[in-house]
């Protein structure tokens, strides 16, 4: 049986609803319609009264989720697109994220963000918000890159007693397939060596994992073995696994689909430079999207975001250094 990344997200929600009566889903069009991407298809029918259509009100959606979490419910919020979560930003960063520190009362909720670019998505349906949320204390930020992680990490997210921003990549929804749902999972908070190597390390996450793996394959033809680290979660960030990889290879390229200023790639390089300066044989490099809004036309979009060939090109430069 073939399972897509999107199927995995739906099945994880089905299992969460079945396993815990406190779980409910709230978001725009998530009910009988099954969601804009069909990530909740069939769930409203299977779990009557627990998969609720919300008004077009991201602030209220998040506020409602927070209140429900205070009372012991475990809400899963679907933002229709990650981009629209900015309309609920205040409740996420100032309310959900501060609640435990301020009051000692934890706030278990999951915000699913359909993230990242797709051809034709344009400036308001393509953004990668993980760095924005990771900046704020009190939030977990998960960025699954595989079907297995989409399933197991979403189930894990529902069990975490704190607010979790779950960045699921729209480009992977139907492109990425696996043979079945995983029966066991790596723990949240651990990065994974997606491809072992010895000449350089690529640290990446989400859809950029697949561009990076393709680049590593391309460069293998030149005789270089590139190690690829899939972060899986950007907060917490598994600094130990990154440093161990850099210790093996001496070279670091960090690849992210997000905008270049600050962000996950900058954080990784800051940590490696501070903690592992002596491990580096060359200056660490980063490859991000361009510093413009995400363009609509596929020809522009394909250059705005890092691609396998752009990653390969950046890696060849790094290997020369």
């Amino acid at each position: 049986m073939s399972i897509t990344y999107l199927d995995a997200i739906r099945e994880a929600q089905r299992k969460a609803l079945a396993d815990d009566p406190n779980v409910f889903i709230y978001g725009q069009d998530v009910g009988n319609f099954g969601g804009a991407f069909k990530a909740t298809e069939g769930l409203a029918q299977q779990f009557p009264g627990r998969v609720l259509d919300s008004p077009l009100s991201e602030d209220a959606i998040m506020g409602m989720a927070i209140g429900a979490a205070i009372e012991g419910a475990r809400p899963i919020v679907e933002m229709q697109f990650a981009d629209f979560s900015t309309c609920g930003l205040n409740q996420i960063i100032n309310h959900a994220a501060t609640l435990y520190y301020r009051t000692g009362v934890n706030c278990p909720l999951v915000v699913r963000l359909p993230s990242g670019g797709t051809p034709g998505g344009g400036p308001f349906h393509s953004q990668s918000m993980e760095a924005l949320y990771a900046h704020y204390p009190g939030l977990f930020v998960l960025t699954p890159a595989t079907v297995e992680d989409a399933y197991s990490m979403l189930l894990g997210a529902v069990e975490i007693e704190d607010p979790v921003i779950f960045c699921e990549h729209k480009f992977l929804y139907n492109h990425l397939k696996a043979e079945g749902l995983p029966s066991e999972a790596m723990p949240i908070g651990k990065a994974r060596i997606a491809r072992p190597g010895r000449d350089a390390t690529i640290v990446t996450y989400s859809a950029m994992l697949h561009e990076s793996l393709a680049a590593a394959e391309e460069i293998a033809a030149d005789g270089f073995e590139i190690e690829v680290v899939d972060l899986r979660s950007v907060k917490p960030l598994d600094t130990d696994t990154i440093l161990a990889s850099v210790a093996r290879t001496g070279r670091l390229l960090c690849v992210s689909e997000a905008f270049p200023w600050g962000g996950v790639s900058a954080e990784v390089i800051a940590r490696v430079t501070a903690e592992g300066f002596g491990l580096l044989d060359a200056a660490p490099q980063r490859l991000n999207a361009k510093d413009t809004p995400v363009p609509y036309h596929p020809a522009l979009w394909g250059t705005h975001r890092p691609t396998a060939s752009a990653v390969a090109s950046a890696m060849r430069q790094l290997l020369k250094g």
Binding site: G63, M64, I66, G67, E71, Q91, Y101, G138, D162
Partner: protein, 346 residues
């Protein structure tokens, strides 16, 4: 169709017996008085430099505020705002925890991590406000939704805000979402004429804020917020209507803020003509006069109650000032409860 209930008389609930009306009124008055005396102490401590950060008082808003807290029950949800000392105390907050939070005692509910009016005990239904106005409306609605999932009936959630708060997107989104779900939510607007320095004329263009109720399909209620009897009747009625399944209720109380926005603010912008109007009356004085007029207590009783409250406030303030401050070395500096997953790179 929403219904705007305009009750402006001070007759009190006709159905209740005279004696019980008097008892409830006096109980509410004494909470208002304690809140007033406590806030006078907070102002004095602020002027003496003992309180770090702001002090925000509810002087003139006690009647409306207390009417909310006193009509809620254990098991209800209450998210007060900055001028709700009286309502907070009616809901179970204490002189001790108020002082601990304002003075930053490590023994207070917020442990020095948050201060002044940002206090609460969410597990007890007493939500801790964030500063962003309107934000507590959907939070209380969400709490009520969770209670509904659990099959709890007869629960009410109430939250308060001011005229300025009605201009926020959160107010609109929250009230609308609560109306869609027909939740037992009571939103109490203290229209004190100014949002910090901004007068109503620069805040909204509708004839009356209660007109907004119709737009959301919720019941609307007007109340003379300088009149405790009117407040108890109207707020009590709205809370009972929500409890009985009548859906969200919007209450708008007209009054005047009798202090600055905070104690740092001399409020020179307030139009002196407003002080001469009905809304400029001090609700505490109005309520005290009614108690004496009705014969529920004497002037001497009122003075004794004030002395009693003052003594308790002073004793508690002295005690709290001897309590330990939070110690940065003891603080665990962790913002998540799932500590094993903390991002520990610092």
């Amino acid at each position: 169709m929403s219904e705007v209930v305009k009750t402006r008389t001070s007759a009190g609930p006709a159905a209740a017996g005279k004696e019980s009306v008097g008892r409830e009124f006096v109980k509410a008055y004494r909470i208002m008085l304690t809140a007033r005396v406590l806030e006078e102490k907070l102002a004095a401590l602020y002027r003496a430099g003992k309180i770090k950060g702001g002090v925000f008082l509810g002087r003139g808003q006690e009647a409306l505020s207390v009417s909310v807290g006193i009509n809620l029950r254990r098991g209800d949800i209450f998210a007060p705002l900055i001028r709700d000392q009286a309502g907070r105390m009616a809901f179970g907050d204490t002189i001790l925890d108020t002082l601990r939070t304002y003075l930053g005692s490590s023994l207070g509910s917020m442990r020095g991590r948050d201060g002044n009016i940002h206090r609460g005990r969410p597990r007890e239904g007493y939500y801790a406000m964030i500063s962003h106005l309107g934000a507590m409306i959907p939070a209380v609605a969400g709490g009520l939704l969770a209670r509904r999932f659990r099959g709890e009936n007869g629960v009410v959630g109430a939250t308060c805000l001011g005229d300025g708060g009605t201009s926020t997107g959160a107010f609109h989104e929250g009230l609308n979402a609560a109306a869609v779900e027909k939740l037992p939510l009571v939103v109490v607007v203290a229209n004190n004429q100014y949002a910090y320095s901004t007068p109503n004329t620069r805040q909204f263009a509708c004839a009356d804020l209660v007109d907004k109720a119709a737009g959301y399909g919720v019941a609307g209620h007007k109340v003379d917020a300088t009149d405790l009897a009117n407040c108890l009747e109207v707020v009590g009625g709205a809370i009972a209507a929500a409890r009985a399944g009548g859906g969200p209720q919007l209450i708008v109380g007209d009054l005047l803020r009798l202090v600055g926005h905070g104690e740092h603010d001399p409020a020179t912008y307030i139009d002196p003509e407003l002080r001469k109007k009905n809304i400029g009356r001090d609700c505490l004085a109005v309520a005290g006069a009614l108690i004496v007029e009705k014969g529920w207590a004497t002037e001497a009783d009122l003075a004794a109650w004030r002395s009693e409250a003052k003594a308790e406030v002073n004793t508690t303030a002295n005690r709290v000032q001897r309590e330990p401050e939070p110690d940065p070395a003891e603080e665990d500096w962790c913002a998540i409860s799932t500590r094993e997953l903390e991002d520990d790179f610092a």
